[in-house]
Amino acid sequence: MTIPSFKKDMFVMLIFSAVILTMPMWLKPLGAGYPDLLQKFAIFGIFAVGYNILFGLTGYLSFGHAAFLGVGSYTAVWSFKLLTMNVLPAILFSVVLAGIVAAIIGFISLRRSGIYFSILTLAFAQMFYNMAYSVLTPVTNGETGLQLARTDPRIIDNLLSEAGAGLPSPTLFGIHMSGYSGFYFCAVILIIAFFISQRIFHSPFGMKLQAIKSNQTRMKYTGYNTRPYLLSAFVISGMYAGLAGALMAVTDPLAGAERMQWTASGEVVLMTILGGVGTLIGPLLGVTIIKYFENIFSALNEQALLAAYSFMPDWLAKMMVTITSPFVGEGWHLTLGALFVIIVVFLPGGVMEGLGKIKNLFRKRPPDPLAKTLVEGQRQEEKG
C-alpha cells in the first residue's frame, strides 16, 4: 500500500462528486432514476461510509449501529416538533446526540474485542429497540412511531411567522426536502461525508487505526494507548449513523423503532462486506448494489415473471416461474443471501477485490525476480 498524494485525493473527490450529482441522469436508463430510491442510495451511503470507518479501519465488527440510526431519526423529528422545520438544527442535534450515545455504548463495549464486542453492541441496540416500545414510549410514541402534528409547539418557527394550515414539511430555508431537492441535499451531505472519510483514511490517525486492526499487541508495545483511538473511531461512525438517521427523517419526517432492529445493523454489515471492507468506495458500491436490486427484485411478482418468460413454451415458462418466484418479491432476501454467500466465498474482499482482479488482468505483470534469478542460474550452470 502506498500513500496517495493530496492531488490524487482531490482528483478522486472531483470524480466522486460528479458521479453522485449526476446520479439521476445515469440511473434513469437503469430504472432507478426516481427521487425516493436516489435518496436511499445517498442516505445508506452515508451510513455505510461511516460504518466502514469503524469496521474497515479497526476491524471491530459492530452489530449495533442501527441504534444510532434510530437516535438520529428521533432527535431530528423532535427538533422539527419542538423548534423548527429547518433541517440544519435537526441534523446538528442528531449528530451530536448520536455521538454522545455512541461514546457511552463504545466506552463499555470496547472493553472487549472480537466476538464479545459484537455481542455487546448487538445487546445495546436490541435494548434501545425494545425500550422504544416500552419505557421510552413518551419519547418514541411506541408502535405508532413519532410523527409531526399541527399542534406541535415549533417555538422558533412560530416566533418568526404564523403557523400555516396543514402539516408543515422539513425545509432548508424554504426549500422543501422532498423529491429531487431532497436527493440533492442528501447528495451534498454524502459528498462531505465521503470527503471526511477520505481525510481520515489518509491521515496518521487513520493509519494508526489500520495498525490496530493489523496487530493491536504491537501497537500497545509501540507506545500507543489503543482504547481512545478505538473509541474515537466508534464515536465518529456513530455520528455518521446519526446523520443518516436524521436524513431519513428529513426526507420523510417520521421515526419508527423498526429502524433500530438488528436487521438494520446487519444490513450495513452486509453492504460494507459486499462492496469491500476497508476500501473507500467499496461500501458505497455495496449500498448501490443492494438497494438497487432490492428495488428491482422486490417489485417483481409471478405475473411479471410470466411476462418475462413469455417467449418460452408454456410448460417451461410455468416451471421457470415456480423455480424463480421464491427469489423475488417477499423472497428478495433469499437472493440477497445467496449473493452474499457467493461473494464471501469467492471474493472475500468484496466487489472491490473483483474489480482489482479485473484490473490486474489487463496490466502487464512485472517479471518475477525469483524466477529470473533461477533462470540465470540455470544458464550459468549450462555454460559451466
Binding site: 500500500m1 500513500i3 489518509h202 490517525f205 487513520g206 508495545y221 507506545g223
Partner: protein, 253 residues
C-alpha cells in the same frame, strides 16, 4: 560504576507450581550491551515480559531510570523509553514496510494518543524520510511499499528491529534477534547491532547463538531456573565452571 538504567530487584513469578523467576536480581548499566543467556525454560522471556508490563510479577521491584515500572500500562512503559523486539516477529502484516516504521515514529513524536484525523500523511515529509532512511539501513528500502506480511521471517525480524530503533529508545530489549535466521542474515544483524552499539543505546539481548553473544556483548548474565547464576564480562563467563556445568553441559567454548 556508571549509571544503572534498569534494575530488577528480587522479582518472583510463578505459573501455577512452576517458579519461572526466583529471586531474580539484575542490573543493566547505561550504554552497555547486556546479554542474557541460559537454557530453555530458564525464564529469559518471562523476565522481559515483566520489564515491559506484559506480565505482573508476584513480588519484587523493577526500576527503569529511577522509576518503578510495575503496574504501568505497556504503552506507558514504551513511552518511558523501553522498546522490545519479540521472539516471534510482532509487526503490522497488513501495512506496507514504510508504514510499519512510520507508526513508531509517530508514537515517539505524538505520544500515546493524538487525534489528528485531518492532517495528511503525505505532508509528513520528515517522518517519511526518517522511515525511508532506516529501511535503507536494514536493507529493505526497495520493498518499502510491499506488505510486511509478505516478508521472510528474517526480514520481518529486521523490520521489527527498525521499528524499535526509529523510536530512539533508552533501552532496547531483544529477544533472540537472530533465531531462525540464515547465517548470512545473522551476520547482517550482527553488523547492525554493532552499528547501534556505537550510538550508545543500552541493550538487553537474549540469545542462544554464542557467536552473536560474544561478538556484541559487553556484559553477560547467565540465567538458570529463574535466577542469575553468574554475571560478568564475556571472558569471565567463558571461564566460569558453574556456567559451563549449568548451561553448556561441561563442553568448552
Amino acid at each position: 560504576m556508571s549509571h544503572i538504567i534498569l534494575e530488577i530487584d528480587n522479582v518472583q513469578k510463578s505459573f501455577g507450581g512452576l517458579k519461572a523467576l526466583h529471586n531474580l536480581n539484575l542490573q543493566v548499566e547505561e550504554g552497555k550491551v547486556h546479554a542474557i543467556i541460559g537454557p530453555n525454560g530458564a525464564g529469559k522471556s518471562t523476565m522481559l515480559n515483566v520489564c515491559i508490563g506484559r506480565l505482573a510479577p508476584d513480588s519484587g521491584v523493577v526500576t527503569f531510570n529511577g522509576e518503578n515500572v510495575l503496574g504501568k500500562q505497556p504503552h506507558e512503559i514504551n513511552q518511558a523509553g523501553i522498546s522490545r523486539v519479540f521472539q516471534t516477529p510482532e509487526i503490522f502484516p497488513d501495512l506496507s514496510l514504510i508504514q510499519n516504521v512510520m507508526i513508531p515514529a509517530f508514537a515517539r513524536r505524538e505520544g500515546s494518543f493524538r487525534f489528528n484525523m485531518f492532517s495528511n500523511l503525505c505532508s509528513e515529509k520528515e517522518v517519511m524520510d526518517e522511515a525511508s532512511h532506516i529501511l535503507h539501513d536494514i536493507g529493505l528500502n526497495e520493498q518499502e511499499s510491499d506488505h510486511a506480511g509478505s516478508l521472510s521471517r528474517g526480514d520481518k525480524r529486521r523490520l521489527e528491529l527498525a521499528m524499535c530503533l526509529i523510536q530512539h529508545p533508552k533501552l532496547l530489549l531483544l529477544d533472540e534477534p537472530t533465531a531462525g535466521m540464515a547465517r548470512h542474515d545473522t551476520n547482517r544483524t550482527i553488523e547492525l547491532l554493532k552499528k547501534i552499539k556505537e550510538t550508545g543505546m543500552t541493550k538487553v539481548i537474549i540469545e542462544h547463538d554464542m557467536h552473536v553473544v560474544f561478538s556484541v556483548a559487553d556484559h553477560i548474565s547467565v540465567l538458570a531456573q529463574g535466577t542469575i547464576i553468574a554475571s560478568g564480562t564475556p571472558d569471565e563467563i567463558r571461564g566460569n565452571p558453574k556456567v559451563q556445568e549449568a548451561y553448556l553441559g561441561g563442553a568448552h567454548l
